[in-house]
């Protein structure tokens, strides 16, 4: 599913070179639930961005779903992303649209036939447990509900890979537990999940395969 071979990423900030990832190699199989951890600035976000081809590696090779991401053309990048759901710390919902419209937006953008849209949106909303709030606007949601809506948007296309970058960073403990449960449900449906977090308490609670980055280097891969 995912294979990184000696991947490095260096950002150039003016004349300064900032190494974000150094010589990282790893392999993730289909259906796995992997926790990506490390202190703030360790390179977690950078690694995820390479996976959905938001950026390309400076060195080494990144393979996702059988594609070498660096060599993809624009249309192929779009095709790859259609198989990947991404959620962030902030929900990134469109403020002028309801929860329903936010999720439906994705399907409409991708040209899904009209009569399929409503049932698929409600499927996704039920999976994350927010179908009762379908007509609410983002401003009316709690942060936990907003993150659920964001997850619904990520999975409505039934992606084979879900990338979650600090998805519980804004949430209190109770909400965090709920969101983690939703992500576990999604994983149970056959979706590969990579969850990035710097919270060691969450890492311990999850008890999954854990990849630890430190200053851009792969420190540990265990569990």
């Amino acid at each position: 599913m995912i294979e990184l071979h000696r991947v490095s990423k260096v950002f150039s900030v003016g004349p300064v070179k900032v190494p974000a990832l150094s010589d990282v190699s790893l392999r993730i199989a289909k259906g796995e639930f992997v926790v990506l951890t490390g202190a703030s600035g360790a390179g977690k976000t950078t690694l995820l961005r390479l996976l959905y081809r938001d950026d390309v590696p400076s060195d080494g090779e990144v393979q996702v779903l059988g594609e070498d991401v660096a060599s993809l053309r624009r249309s192929e990048v779009a095709a790859l992303r259609r198989s990947i759901g991404v959620v962030f710390q902030d929900a990134k919902l469109l403020p002028a649209r309801t929860v329903y419209e936010n999720v439906a937006f994705v399907l409409r953008v991708l040209g899904t036939p009209k009569r399929e849209i409503t049932p698929r949106v409600f499927d996704a909303l039920r999976t994350v447990g927010i179908s009762a709030r379908a007509q609410a606007y983002p401003a009316q949601l709690s942060q936990g509900e907003a993150q659920r809506a964001s997850l619904a948007r990520a999975i409505v296309r039934q992606p084979s890979l879900l990338l979650a970058d600090e998805p519980t960073g804004n949430l209190d403990d109770a909400m965090e537990a709920e969101i983690i449960d939703v992500i576990k449900d999604i994983r149970a449906g056959g979706t590969t999940v990579i969850l990035a977090t710097h919270q060691s308490r969450l890492v311990r609670a999850l008890r999954r395969r854990t990849i630890t980055l430190d200053g851009g280097y792969l420190l540990k891969d265990e569990g």
Binding site: R81, P95, V106, V109
Partner: protein, 294 residues
């Protein structure tokens, strides 16, 4: 999908609000100016064509040729370059048409001891001879005929009218072009605003792998909508202006130009104005480019 794209374009237009409105107004102004001058120019062109057809040059003959010589003379003049057709008028013909013109006063003619009118040739110039140079050459050639006593008539003022028509066209194009540039820039500004308002949508679209067309098309569409709306308003303004002004202007136009009425623009021209508006809008929308992916 198209319904969705148009819906997004309309949502964008609402978001651009007042700037979109000023873009539409500028497109309306530029196309109304263009259309107004076009209308004037088309009518002037019609007047020019009318008058060109009516231009006659009369060659007065030194003496009346014998009836048997006349056809040969006509044929010879017909051969002069720049001549479209020639009609021979004998002294008797001239007198007859004079009587017709005088009508009930024709009896004075009967009192003349002899027919004082010369025989003449009525020459219709070919289109090629309707330019100032062509007309001058034709006049010179006709004057050179040994039979010619005097040559009367010129196409000079038709030429002046035609120059006016060209001037009106140029002014129209000039004003239209200046306004069109302003319109394009305003559409670009409103689209840039929309790009800014739309950046979250575009980020999500890119994130979920929307085709590039679905990301860019609403921008282009809203630009085209601005242009089309502006063009429709301009057409409306032209129709109203024509309805109001034409009846008042027609007596004057009839007197000076010999046009019985001011014609509105033909359908093809109206279509071109609509297309021009849409194109202006599309260009403005296309010129506003946001950050693109690496």
């Amino acid at each position: 999908m198209l319904g969705f794209l148009i819906g997004e374009a309309l949502r964008d237009l609402r978001r651009a609000g007042r700037v979109a409105v000023s873009a539409i107004v500028l497109i309306t102004l530029s196309l109304a100016a263009l259309g107004g001058f076009w209308l004037l120019s088309a009518n002037l062109a019609r007047a020019v064509a009318n008058w060109r057809e009516r231009v006659r040059i009369i060659v007065y003959l030194k003496r009346e040729p014998a009836a048997s010589e006349a056809p040969a003379l006509v044929e010879r003049v017909q051969g002069v370059p720049g001549v479209a057709s020639v009609v021979y008028l004998s002294k008797a013909d001239a007198l007859k048409s004079l009587k017709e013109i005088l009508g009930k006063d024709a009896s004075v003619v009967a009192q003349l001891p002899a027919n004082p009118l010369p025989a003449s040739l009525e020459v219709t110039p070919a289109a090629a001879a309707a330019t100032p140079d062509g007309a001058r050459t034709l006049l010179r050639n006709l004057q050179a005929l040994p039979e010619a006593e005097e040559v009367a008539g010129s196409a000079d003022w038709v030429e002046r009218l035609s120059q006016w028509q060209r001037l009106v066209t140029t002014i129209g194009l000039g004003i239209g072009a200046v306004l069109a540039v302003a319109a394009i820039l305003t559409v670009t500004t409103s689209t840039t605003l929309i790009l800014h308002a739309r950046r979250h949508e575009m980020e999500i679209m890119r994130l979920v792998g929307a085709p590039e067309a679905a990301i860019r098309l609403p921008l282009l569409l809203q630009g085209m909508l601005q242009g089309l709306l502006g063009a429709l308003l301009a057409l409306g303004a032209l129709v109203v202006a024509h309805e109001l002004v034409a009846p008042r202007l027609e007596p004057l136009v009839n007197l000076t130009l010999g046009l019985s009425h001011l014609q509105f623009l033909p359908l093809a021209s109206l279509m071109m104005l609509l297309a021009a508006g849409t194109l202006l809008g599309a260009l403005g929308g296309w010129l506003a480019r946001g950050r693109r992916e690496p």
